[in-house]
Symmetry: C2
Subunit: 292 residues, 2 copies
């Protein structure tokens, strides 16, 4: 290998792959690419991969076609040693089907007992944010939600409920508000902006807000400025910018998740019989200006 490099000879990837039955490639499967969560997780994956000698393939699942069949296609092609699935949500049954391919897989932001997984407790995150707001004396706390069929959103709504129930504060469905939910499942600045405008004008009785993502929260911040009314606001993710715009938020250790998931996958390559591990991070409440 070293000599080859100097002389100028280089094995062709496909020939090598076919003959050796090793590809030296890890495939990352992801629903949408330009998304902060994905970017940060990917950063962590890269951090780990740079130490090793694997190549990275990224497969972007198209929203127009069936997710399961696209995912299955990736496994069938057998172009990589193993896969990292980021925010891919399938049914119990579908995951079971994928197990048959016998390819090492680590799930990120999803849970299934048959694969290694790394996730964050979404219910807990929303619970903490909501509880904090409620404990500060705000009784009409809105949740600025996103696509409701999204698994993390479902969990976060549960956490939102839980905090209300625990505090003994009555709660009505109208407190959960969506912006435009078509583009990027609603995890956009625009979606947050629009929803906050609604909250502040149509629904003026609200006195604090929990957002399903930091980008939405940043849109919401702008809305508050434009309408000239400010209410306490907590985001979700803790993207790098959050600190600089003074956004209180729920931190997900995205980079660590990517790093750890990759390490986990590599370990499975080396020891296929290793016990399956489920890692669940607990999100942390970060208080900054937006809740002052």
């Amino acid at each position: 290998m070293l000599v080859a490099d100097e002389v100028g000879y280089h094995p062709q990837a496909h020939a090598q792959g076919l003959a050796s039955k090793k590809t030296n490639t890890i495939t990352v499967v992801v629903p949408v690419m330009s998304n902060y969560f994905f970017i940060e997780v990917l950063g962590g994956i890269q951090d780990k991969l740079n130490e090793l000698n694997y190549e990275l393939a990224i497969i972007n699942i198209s929203p127009n076609k069936d997710t399961f069949s696209q995912v299955e296609h990736v496994l069938k092609r057998r172009a990589s040693e193993g896969c990292l699935f980021i925010s891919i949500h399938l049914s119990q049954q579908e995951w079971q089907t994928l197990q048959r391919y016998n390819i090492p897989i680590t799930l990120i932001d999803e849970y299934f007992e048959g694969f290694d997984s790394v996730s964050v407790d979404n219910t807990q995150g929303a619970y903490r944010a909501t509880k904090y707001l409620l404990s500060q004396g705000y009784s009409r706390v809105a949740m600025l939600s996103a696509l409701e069929t999204s698994k993390p959103i479902k969990s976060r709504i549960m956490g939102f409920h839980k905090a209300h129930k625990e505090a003994g504060i009555p709660f009505c469905e109208e407190l959960i508000i969506n912006g435009d939910t078509t583009y990027r499942d609603g995890f956009t600045e625009r979606s947050g902006y629009e929803a906050m405008i609604k909250i502040l004008t149509v629904e003026p009785k609200i006195d604090a807000c929990f957002c399903a993502s930091d980008v939405q929260a940043i849109g919401a911040l702008k809305a508050m400025q434009d309408v000239e009314r400010t209410i306490p606001l907590i985001g979700y993710d803790d993207i790098e910018l959050a600190e600089y715009v003074g956004l209180s938020t729920i931190r997900q250790p995205m980079r660590d998740m990517g790093f750890f998931a990759t390490q986990n996958l590599i370990e499975r390559f080396e020891n296929p019989k290793k016990a399956i591990s489920q890692t669940i991070y607990t999100p942390e409440l970060i208080l900054r200006n937006s809740t002052d």
Copy 2:
């Protein structure tokens, strides 16, 4: 192919690749992944690729090893039909060497006459921003720079100079200021924050500022708040968030660039003898709150 899909048979990628000498894969080569410019460009690439039937491989050039040899390695492996190089800067000579591999390549954010390229006029962008500030009557305009060996930075510094010369305003080197330049070449919120603190404290005679990126500008905005002194500020990129934090900036059509570069590459697959095209976008000045 269609039938195969239904029946459950699937060709293995490597065998197919070896036999057909076609890989159906496009490789994107990039120096650093978690970077807004890259993410947006990648979004555009995906938009185009989703229409077609290509797979995407992403190669991350490690900053610890020699860029050229890593890039060359990609070509030698012949694992893809063609490459998109994002923000990879090589010498004239090195690009020439790569031509010999006879693999279609489109350059993004770089220029070399032997390959198709899509870039933005960095000198022009910096010139416009600086000129605007100068025209508003500010005579001590600082430039918040990043890694000086970076090619775009060099051009932007030139544009900064040009605007001064044209306005007949004397100019001293100390007006160009760096923050922490080690991590991500200085294109970070932290770097912008630190540099702005310097500007506002150590160097109090400055009355406006042009930033080399929006993320730096967002750091700078925070610094101004913390120090309680505000000066007009223009960023660079126009990332999605910029609109929502009211940041004036120079817009680079990042998504379009990715889309167009991909289209260009595909066209070259179909017609290898096509004349080489150099596309240079002109960046646009977007005025928002930060210059009011």
